[in-house]
Subunit: 227 residues, 2 copies
């Protein structure tokens, strides 16, 4: 039984990788920077995105977001308040997004023209395990860790941290009441993914947002020069 499951799982992942590669080609061909945001439930992906979408729009960028949850469209409604086009994916029990879901929702999104966008943010289902295996066609995978979760999360969930291109420590405005050990957390992230770019942000106070937004602008450059 186990062997058959492993074979099926490989088959699913191979199919996902092929779909993701197709999406990536499509995104790159129109100079679109796509980011996949992964973290525990409640780390603050939506709060970070609310502020990021708003600030990028103020700077004149074309932004959109796809957001995954098992149920509810709470996050899509929160993000849509920024004025950016947003679409909710409900997975109904599935613990991660996959490339097929992303492709399907983009295909049905009649009002969205990818060519007019600079950034597409994909907020994954809150889960520190399963999303690591599913490429969504993103160029940058961002893992978030809040100051409330415990500094050893990178060591306990190495797969996800190891698959990320950038890391964000969120909710730094409440680091002190949480007794957060910043040095330990940063060391643990670096132990799993040496040299990864690490941001420290508070979506509530705005602290650290400039660095994050500058990074997003820098990452746009290579793609923009292709178009």
């Amino acid at each position: 039984m186990t062997t058959r499951i492993v074979e099926l799982r490989r088959g699913i992942l191979k199919k996902n990788d092929e779909l993701a590669a197709g999406l990536r080609t499509r995104f790159n061909s129109c100079g679109l920077l796509v980011l996949n945001l992964v973290s525990s439930p409640g780390t603050g992906k939506t709060a970070l995105l609310e502020r990021t979408l708003r600030e990028l729009r103020t700077r004149g960028a074309g932004v959109a977001a796809l957001v995954g949850d098992l149920e509810t469209d709470n996050d899509a409604r929160r993000l849509a308040a920024s004025g950016a086009p947003v679409r909710q994916i409900n997975t109904h029990g599935i613990c991660h997004l996959d490339a097929e879901m992303v492709g399907k929702h983009i295909g049905e999104w009649n009002t969205l023209d990818l060519a007019n966008l600079d950034y597409l943010f994909i907020e994954n289902v809150g889960n520190l395990v399963c999303p690591s295996s599913y490429d969504l066609g993103e160029r940058i995978r961002v893992v978030l860790l809040s100051v409330t979760e415990g500094e050893d999360k990178p060591l306990k969930y190495p797969g996800l941290f190891n698959s990320a291109d950038a890391a964000i420590v969120t909710k730094i405005d409440i680091a002190e009441p949480c007794g957060f050990n910043r040095e330990l957390a940063i060391n643990n992230i670096n132990q799993i993914r040496p040299g990864i770019r690490i941001f420290e942000t508070s979506a509530r106070t705005g602290q650290g947002m400039e660095d994050w937004l500058d990074y997003l602008a820098d990452q746009r450059q290579p793609a923009a020069s292709l178009s």
Copy 2:
């Protein structure tokens, strides 16, 4: 392909349910109360258990814990400081515990005599989705939600909250800096699982621990009367 996967998944769950039923019979026959603690990563399962094990031991109860993580034995080391017997299960990439893992680790635990125990706590892998489908032979499933995670988690992850017998709102000592809306969170838990017993605790200050410990003592009664 999808049909075959669903069939395999049903087969796995059926096998898990059979193993879990066997464990439950065994636990009940020696009057042992087994609890399965589930939550997001970082909600504070280990911190709650550290205090719970210590206080139950002070009251003269026989307690032990099994703790699941993908990697590291950090949590087992933390819990063992209570003096209780503790064993770490490393799942190496698997996103939940299952009955086979629990049975295997109890079987190999030569120093543990179930008949001398009153409580066995099983701390699941931090994940709000996948553990909901895997019965571990527990009598009580406890879902934890911290004040830092957002009040709408029960609505977004209804499967896990709906499968629980009790809920604990954790980290209430930092409710205020987190801007936690207590009434909304309680309403959301009740919307998914009407009438569920809800505790509010801080493992740091001890607030709410008496209610939780009294509940544990009450729940022991029916099983104890069987022995």
